[in-house]
């Protein structure tokens, strides 16, 4: 089994001195779906931001797809390990949906024909055809979440990093997103408070608390309330 992510003894403090991660060690295998849960401030999102090199720590080592996470490899890593932010308003910054979805592809150097074809295909796949020339603020929240996913999926990443993919969605939109994510057979790392979604989507659970990984194992933990409480959840 191939390890796609190897994290060794990773520690990180924010510039103002707040410690966020201390001694995290974690391996992620190709093709698995890992759910990271934990109380607010446990360091889940911070860990996610490390996996495509947005945050870089001097303490500890990360390898993504066998490449050490250093500046030389960032471009390659970011095209293979793609992050979807929690707030779609942050993810969608271009004047139209088309430009937003095309943004990553153009940066990767695809030519015009390929970009148009891929954008069209992915918008059909997220069931939003014909929205190319809309502005993001004309979309509903659920649609924005889907387009955010599309902006990243279109780059055909090997690892999908998802920060709270179901937050603020209504029941129907939430079901839609979960069903859609289930169909994607890539390595997925999902950070969320939505325990039911994690249970449905993930094979392996990682629990974090106060910057440490306090548990890794299978889904049974999600039904063990006393144990979850002892982790601060």
């Amino acid at each position: 089994m191939d390890k796609v992510v190897e994290i060794r003894n990773l520690s990180y403090s924010y510039p103002d001195g707040t410690p966020a991660l201390s001694g995290v060690t974690l391996d992620i295998i190709e093709g698995e779906s890992v759910g990271i849960i934990g109380p607010n401030g446990a360091g889940k999102s911070t860990l996610l931001l490390h996996l495509n090199g947005i945050l870089q720590s001097k303490n500890g080592a990360i390898k993504v797809l066998g490449m050490p996470l250093i500046n030389k490899n960032l471009r390659e890593i970011r095209s293979k390990a793609c992050l979807v932010f929690q707030d779609p308003e942050d993810q969608l910054f271009m004047p139209t949906v088309f430009d937003d979805v095309a943004f990553g592809l153009i940066n990767l150097g695809y030519d015009e024909g390929a970009v148009k074809e891929k954008v069209g295909k992915i918008l059909e796949r997220v069931d939003l055809p014909g929205r190319e020339h809309r502005s993001a603020h004309h979309l509903s929240f659920g649609e924005k979440k889907l387009v955010s996913l599309a902006t990243v999926l279109v780059m055909e990443p090997r690892i999908l990093l998802l920060d709270e993919p179901t937050s603020n969605l209504d029941r129907k939109e939430r079901r839609g997103i979960i069903r859609f994510l289930e169909e994607i057979d890539k390595t997925k790392i999902v950070v969320s408070h939505d325990i039911e979604m994690i249970e449905q989507l993930c094979d392996r659970i990682v629990v974090m608390n106060r910057g440490k990984v306090v548990f890794t194992g299978n889904k049974e933990i999600l039904r063990d309330d006393t144990k979850l409480k002892s982790f601060g959840l």
Binding site: R78, F93, M94, F103
Partner: protein, 255 residues
């Protein structure tokens, strides 16, 4: 929260909407130059320009009240800056008034300049109103980009367009939060609160900008934004702008 959109009616599919944005941009730019350069006393010519604009509005099928209401937005600002001109310009006196110890005279020349400013600014804003309500904002930006307007300015405009409504939403949320907990009516205290609100809005905007930058980095941003160009000038564009330009210059140069 819902907002009316900047480029309301830009989705209509009229003949004007379908023109190439670059052609429209250049046409309206020339139109404004011509309007501004026309001598102030030539009222017939101004009527001619107005007629062109009026026909454009009719062709574009945008509701007349909308266009005219929007074009009038500029008038208060113009009035505010130009209202004193008739009193200060020398020349033939049109009338003089005495208020207590104040002696005011109005000159014909001053009135002419005032009227000139009013007409020209209104016609120019009317042109811009037609341009922005027949062209999508994103197409307009792209057209500006192709016409070699500096990229930084286009990026600023593009981010502004994308996040302006979000900023308003954010402000409304802060305002609602204040109003639901605010009982004191002391104006000094209110000013203090407004100060805090502005600060809060600034911090939120700053933090959002950082998150957006991270999202851009995650998708391979390296300092330049590239977009695809997708405009095509066809015969209709050339015919239409050719006709309009000819009429325009005929009016301008006719004695």
């Amino acid at each position: 929260m819902k907002h009316s959109f900047l480029d309301k009616y830009s989705d209509l599919g009229s003949i004007i909407h379908r023109l190439d944005p670059r052609v429209k941009l250049i046409f309206f730019f020339v139109l404004i130059l011509v309007i501004v350069s026309t001598p102030p006393q030539e009222l017939v010519k101004f009527s001619g320009y107005f007629l062109i604009l009026f026909i454009l509005v009719l062709l574009s099928r945008i509701p007349l009240p909308f266009v005219f209401a929007r074009s009038l937005v500029i008038i208060p600002f113009v009035l505010l800056t130009a209202i004193f001109i008739p009193f200060f310009k020398g020349g033939e006196v049109a009338g003089s008034y005495n208020f207590l110890t104040l002696h005011l005279t109005i000159s014909h020349k001053g009135i002419l300049i005032f009227q000139n400013i009013l007409i020209k600014s209104w016609l120019s804003v009317l042109s811009l109103t037609i341009l922005t309500s027949t062209t999508k904002f994103s197409s307009l930006l792209k057209a500006l980009e192709i016409l070699k307007i500096p990229r930084v300015m286009i990026l600023i405009a593009s981010f502004f367009y994308r996040y302006m409504f979000l900023l308003v939403d954010e402000l409304m949320r802060i305002k609602n939060a204040r109003d639901s907990r605010s009982f004191k009516k002391n104006p000094v205290y209110q000013f203090k609160v407004i100060g805090y609100m502005i600060g809060e809005l600034f911090i939120r905007t700053y933090e959002r900008a950082e998150r957006i930058y991270l999202a851009m980095l995650s998708r391979g941003f390296n300092g330049t934004i590239y977009t695809l160009e997708s405009f095509k000038i066809n015969r209709m564009d050339l015919f239409f702008s050719g006709c309009l330009m000819t009429i325009l210059f005929l009016i301008r140069l006719w004695r």
